[in-house]
Structure formats: C-alpha cells, structure tokens
Assembly symmetry: C2
Homo-oligomer: 453 residues x 2
C-alpha cells in the first residue's frame, strides 16, 4: 500500500534552512511595518466566490482555485451545464468558496465588514500566502506569499512618503541595493489629454510602458498601430524620453504639461513626494519614470515599482494610490495607498546575492552530548539553566557514538557542544567545545552561560 508521495506542482515545502531564510525576510518586513505604526490583520484562506469572482478579470476567474462544496454538492446543479461541458459556469454551482488570489480584495472586504471598529486612517499590514492556478515556471508558484501594507482613509501624500521610507528601510536592512521608480497616473492622463486622445490612455500607457524593453522606435510604431496620429506621437516623444536628474525631469515635465490640468496636478504630486522623501535622506535611488504604468486600471495617483540593482529579475515590490478600494462591496469613495513586497522574488534575490547573516540558521546554540543516563540527566539540568538565560540548547537524546553526535552538531551548524562525562559530573562542570576553532575548555555553569552569551 506504500505510495511514493509528492506535492502539487507549483507548491513547495520549506526545510528548516529555507524557513530560517524566509523568516529573516518576513521578520524584517514585519518589524519595519511595525516601526511605522502599521498593524497586522489576517483573513481566511477561503473566501466566498462571490467575493472573488469578477475582481481579477476573466483570466483571473479561471485562475482561482475553487473548493468543491461539501456533502451532496450535485443537488440543484443544472445538469445541462454538465452535458455541455460548461466547466466555468458549472464550477460556480459546484463551488461556493475559493482560495484567496491576492491580499487586496480580501482587505477591501475586511474594511467593509469591519468599518465600524476601524480607526481611519486605517494602517494595516498583512503577510499571508495567496494561490493562483497559473502555469508554474521558474520563479512563479501556485502558492506564494504577499506582504502588503496599506493606508486607507487618507488622501495625504505623507502616506506615500512613509511607504517609500518603509521600502527604503526594508531593503537597506536586507542589504539589497534598489531603484525605486515613481510615476503618477495623473501624468499619464495628462499625456493622453495633451495629444488629444484622452480615451486612448490605456493604449498609450501600454505602449510606452515597453520602452525599456523594445526601445523608442518600436514604441512609436506601436503607438501608430494603436491609432495615434504622427502629431500625437511627436508630442509624446519628449515626455517619454525625459533625461537628467529628477528635478530636471520634473521641470521639463511641468513645462510640457502646461496645458493639462490633470497632468500638472500629477506633476505637483510627484514634486511633493520626491522633495519630501529627499529631505528625509533615502538610501535607495528614487527615479521618476513617466513610462511606468503598472496596475493602471486600479491606480489613480502615485505609482511605485522597485527593481533590484544587482540581480536581473522583475519588480520586487510595487504599489500605488487608488480611489475606490471598497466600492464594489458597497462602500464607495474610500481612497488609499499601498505597497506589496514580493517575498518570493526577494527570497530569490537574497539567495542570488547570498545576503543572509551567518546566525539565522535557527539551530540551537549548544548541543549537549549524551554520554549515558546520569550524564544526560545532568545535561538536562544544565540545559535548563542555559535556556533560562535565553540561549537555545538541545540535549542529544540517545547515548550514541560520540562521532555520530558530533556530526549532528556539525551538520546543523550548532556552534558549541557541551560535554558532561564522569569527570564533569563529579566536578559540576561542562567541557565546552567550540565547533569552529576546535578549542575546548572546562567551565562551571555560570561561566558556560557567559561563554555562550
């Protein structure tokens, strides 16, 4: 009956060594969120499909993991859907619940359901896995973590500034050199207005978003294909090829946007955010990038994207301001701004650059060897004292061969081994072996604790 076990494709186990690394990242993010007064919430893994469906586009609906109803789930199902293989429609009858696809929609639902108890502005963070039935590939998983922080109920750009500080602080702590790209949806609207094609804002931004990848000429071609006149394209060109410092770019942009009210408002917002942030001394590079169009359908003001400078990988954090988080759930007009750290990509970046501190292994600081019953009993006593001092300790459970015991400490990266044999038992001491240097010394318990501290 024995079966060779496996796990679903696109999912992962995390071993202790991997967990230690991941926890290092999560703990860093959590601590910085906390320093800025963001407070944690959690929502259930399962949401009603009525909450999730239609929020991520048609493709998103297909990528939702749906949970089969319990019990007699065929009752009341429209059998013609089965006969006609209408899988998507049938799924809505077989399943009431689905797995969380991101943290934003559950957060919106949370805000609506709990609005009476929330203090506005509400600053929340959330670190939980999400699930997507995407085709798995390198760096893309069906279960992965998101780490989101949002402020809702405040229009102030001070929130943007603090979120940029958070991004800066997290990556500074992790030792990752980053560039934060900044744009504003109002500038994009301004561009569309300027070229006399306000209805073409999506076409324009989709095209100019590609400038880094395909270059200016191809972008111009695409703009033409999307129905823009040569004059319009000529007007866009200087805007998307701005150069110089942020201040110079903003100056040029302001001049170019002179005739668009919304565009100028966007420039003003960018100036405020960039100046305020600069006054606080960011370590990251902050770069105005007018071609940045991330999440266009959703964001209404600031748009943020973070790239690692030393690893070739997509965006590792992103975010922006939105006007109407909760309208779809019956609470219109709630504005907010948020960021999302891509924990799995950050994990890949830290692995690629080997940026983990040496002491995050999570193994005990000392392992007491086991030389027999009486010796082990004494080791348990000493281990208790060591732990009381806040130092992690394990006692090898069996009186195995010393070589085997030592090799465990070695393999787990346990830095010290404590040996209590007959002599130590009589003298009330412990022989402490430093596993790195091989040095040994015989100590009483107080000195042992000092040596380990």
């Amino acid at each position: 009956m024995a079966q060779k076990p496996s796990i679903p494709k696109g999912t992962r186990d995390f071993t202790p060594a991997e967990m230690a690394r991941r926890n290092y990242i999560f703990d860093t993010i959590r601590e910085v969120f906390g320093l800025y007064g963001f407070r944690q919430i959690e929502t259930p893994a399962m949401e009603n499909l009525s909450t999730l469906m239609g929020k991520y586009g048609e493709e998103g609906d297909k990528l939702l993991f749906k949970i089969l109803n319990s019990g007699d789930y065929l009752r009341g199902v429209d059998r013609s859907l089965i006969d006609n293989d209408e899988c998507l429609k049938l799924a809505a009858q077989l399943c009431e619940k689905g797995l969380r696809y991101d943290l934003t929609v559950p957060f919106a639902r949370f805000v609506v359901m709990h609005r009476a108890e929330l203090q506005m502005p509400f600053k929340r963070f959330q670190i939980q896995p999400v699930w997507r039935a995407d085709r798995p590939q390198k760096g893309r998983y069906r279960e992965f973590y998101q780490c989101d922080a949002d402020v809702v109920g405040s229009d102030s750009l001070l929130n943007e500034v603090e979120l940029l500080q958070i991004i800066d602080e997290v990556f500074a702590r992790l030792g990752v050199r980053i560039t934060i790209k900044l744009n504003n949806r109002k500038v994009l609207a301004g561009i569309a207005e300027l070229v006399g094609a306000p209805d073409k804002i999506i076409d324009i931004t989709v095209a100019i978003d590609k400038i880094d990848k395909i270059g200016l000429d191809k972008v111009k071609e695409e703009l033409a294909e999307r129905g823009l006149s040569p004059e319009a394209i000529d007007r866009i060109t200087p805007i998307i090829t701005l150069s110089g410092t942020n201040a110079e770019r903003l100056e040029s942009l302001k001049a170019l946007m002179a005739s668009s009210e919304v565009g100028l408002k966007g420039v003003e917002e960018l100036i405020t955010v960039i100046d305020s942030t600069a006054a606080l001394g960011l370590r990251a590079d902050l770069e105005l990038d007018v071609s940045l169009a991330r999440g266009l359908n959703y964001y209404t003001g600031t748009i943020i994207e973070v790239k690692a400078r030393d690893v070739e990988i997509g965006s590792i954090t992103g975010g922006g301001r939105y006007d109407n988080l909760t309208g779809v759930f019956g609470l219109p007009g709630l504005s907010g701004v948020g960021i999302s750290f891509g924990a799995d990509r950050i994990y890949d970046v830290l692995n690629a650059l080997d940026l983990y501190p040496a002491d995050i292994q999570g193994a005990a600081r000392i392992m007491f060897a086991n030389l027999g019953e009486a010796e082990a009993a004494r080791s348990l006593q000493v281990a208790r004292e060591v732990r009381r001092a806040g130092i992690s300790a394990e006692v090898y459970p069996d009186a195995a061969k010393m070589k085997k015991q030592m090799s465990r400490a070695d393999a787990l990266g346990i830095p010290y081994v404590g040996i209590i044999g007959e002599t130590e038992l009589q003298e009330g001491t412990v022989t402490l072996k430093n596993m790195t240097t091989g040095e040994q010394s015989q100590l009483n318990v107080d000195d042992l604790i000092k040596a380990l501290s």
Copy 2:
C-alpha cells in the same frame, strides 16, 4: 452592483487587536520551541488527495476540503457517477488536491520526501492553519491553527521529558495554570492483557476514558455492554480508580501489572518520564491518569494531555509517542514523539482569563500630531530619529482637527503623542504628551527618545 460581503462560515477575520493577541501566543510557542532546538518547516496548504485520503478514517475523507481541478475538469470523468449522485467517488475524479487537514500527515510526507537531507533525530516544529469541513460551532472552526513539535528518529524518553518541559515553559510564560495528564499506551495494553481480553483494548479504553464524565458505575455498565465478564471488570476497577500521589499510583500499578510484560514496560516508561521531569522542577501539575486514551490508534507509548486549571474547556495541548509515522508513505519503522498546541483554544483560555500583557497592542508608541505642512515635515524628521532608536512611531497624515487626531491615539492605545507646532518648530523641540497621565513636557529629540525608551 454592490454586494454585501461575508466570509465562509466557520472562518474568521482577525483584526489588529486580535492579531496582536494571537501573535503573542504564537511568538511564545515559537520562542520556546526554538530554545529547545526545534526548527521550523512549512508545507503547502494544498496536498495531493492521494496523500490525504484514507489517513483520517472514512469520516475524515468527507471532511477534507477538495479543490476542483482547473480547466476542463469534466474530461474523462465517469458520467455514471454524476447520474447516480455518487458525490464522494465523483469528487476523487473532479479533484486532485485538497487542503491540509492536520500537520501530521503532511509532516510524514515531508520526512519521506526530504529524508536524504534531514539530520536524525529530526526536531521540527510547524505552525500553520488546517482546514476541516466540520459543522462549525462555538470554539470549532473550519480554519484553525495547529502548533506542532515532533522529534522523529529517536526512541529515547529524554524526548518526552523535553516536550513536557516545553509544555510547562509555554504555559508558565503565558500565565496559564495547567495540569498535564500522562499515560502510556502499553499500560492500556497491559490492562487488556490482564483481564484476558487483549483484543478488547479499544473497547476497554473507550469505556474507561469516560470515567471523568460519567463516573465509575456507568463505566462498569459500558464495559459489561462491550462484552467484558464481571471478573474482568473487577480486575479493571482498582486500576482505573488509583489514588494518591504519582509515586503511590505507580507503585500500585506496578503491583497490579506484575503479570503483564507489556504493562510493566509501560509502568517503567512512566516512572522514567515522571522522575526525570520531577528532577527538573516542573511548575505544572503532572498527573498519572490511567484512563487517558487519547489518539489510541496512533500512539504506541507515552500519551500526553493538557488541561487548563482555571477554565472549563477541553484539552488545550496533546501528544504522544508513535511507532510508524511514515510507513504509509513507504518508510517503515520511523518512531517519534510529538505535541500539538491547540492555538485557538489557548486563545480562548487567555481571553477568558485576560492574561495578555498590557503592551502587546501593536500600535505605535508615539503618534506625531499634524499641525500643517512645515510642522509635519519636521515631524517626519523626528519620527525618523525615533524609529532609528527602534521605537515605533506614526505621523498623523492629515492636518485634521486636534481633537480628531487625539481621539485616534486614544482609540488605538498609543501611549504618547508628539506635538510640533510653531514654537517647537522654531526651538527644535517636541511637546510630548503622556496619554495616560495627561502630562506634557517640551523636549529636544534626544530627550524625547530617552523618554520613549
């Protein structure tokens, strides 16, 4: 189009205040696990149904949340199952994956899949949610957390001793007074052997397990109904009505078990565990309870159950030793011992006794009021200094009415408000208001940080 949102029954949102409390519990458990050298792993929320099915009995199979296959999930399905409403069999064709039902089966699968990279004895802990399609009721949820620690690959009773120390330490830190009940499956086998009904071990233990609830007479009735002779019942009676100290009970039990080899082995194991633990000075009450039969089909040695002394609630932690964790996945003979903290019940206990420290709210330590643009810019500067000292701070994002700003600090339990107005701006100071006492003082930044530390 607005819909009134809800969440699936039996699931919960956790607000910041609730999360702060839950994190306090999880962090306490995690820290103690770490002090004893246990290392964390995580497994995916979804497992293949082939991993899960048949591991929790027929009832368990029904309580698994199953995930509808993606895409054209009707292809290849046996349509007669649909016509005959054979929901359970059909589910196995519609679904390949299910949600984790506990942490033990995924752990067994993990050990088998990763055995080449694991150091034995392997000491792991795991804190993750599990899902069961149970009927929700008070204190029973469809999504809840388990916190498990296991040592596999060692027969030593030293592991039992350390797990009991962990239980003791966790509840001492949480301030919950507990009784740890201890038994050994071999003693139960011994009882069945003694009364000449070794095949009736399940019947006997199911009956005597109820003694606390229904009393001795009813247990005797039930034993008779389950086919035990009056003589057998007479022989069982003194065993299940042992009284006195643990030492006295063990003494009596040893005498009563004299003719059962397995029973005596169980008594010996109990003596070792109880004596070793007593030598280490447990704060919890440790009580030998021969009627304890928790998880009988699974455990083969030590059986552990923890009750809160000051709250009426079921077992809040349990565990025991097992012989064959991974046999079903093709790796026979792997013995281990583990415990599982029932986080949700512990949460209920701490809520009932109001045992949370005052400072776990998770709100910022100081909120800077916002008196206008220049003042807020200065507040951001000072907040940066405060955070650099490791102190959490928020800046009210809008220049709202002071009363509104103060009421936020009050509602969130933020203990200090920092005020930077025109005077403070000129003088380079901050007026610090203690929200508890109402006291105010004007400080420079260094003194502010000292006052907040």
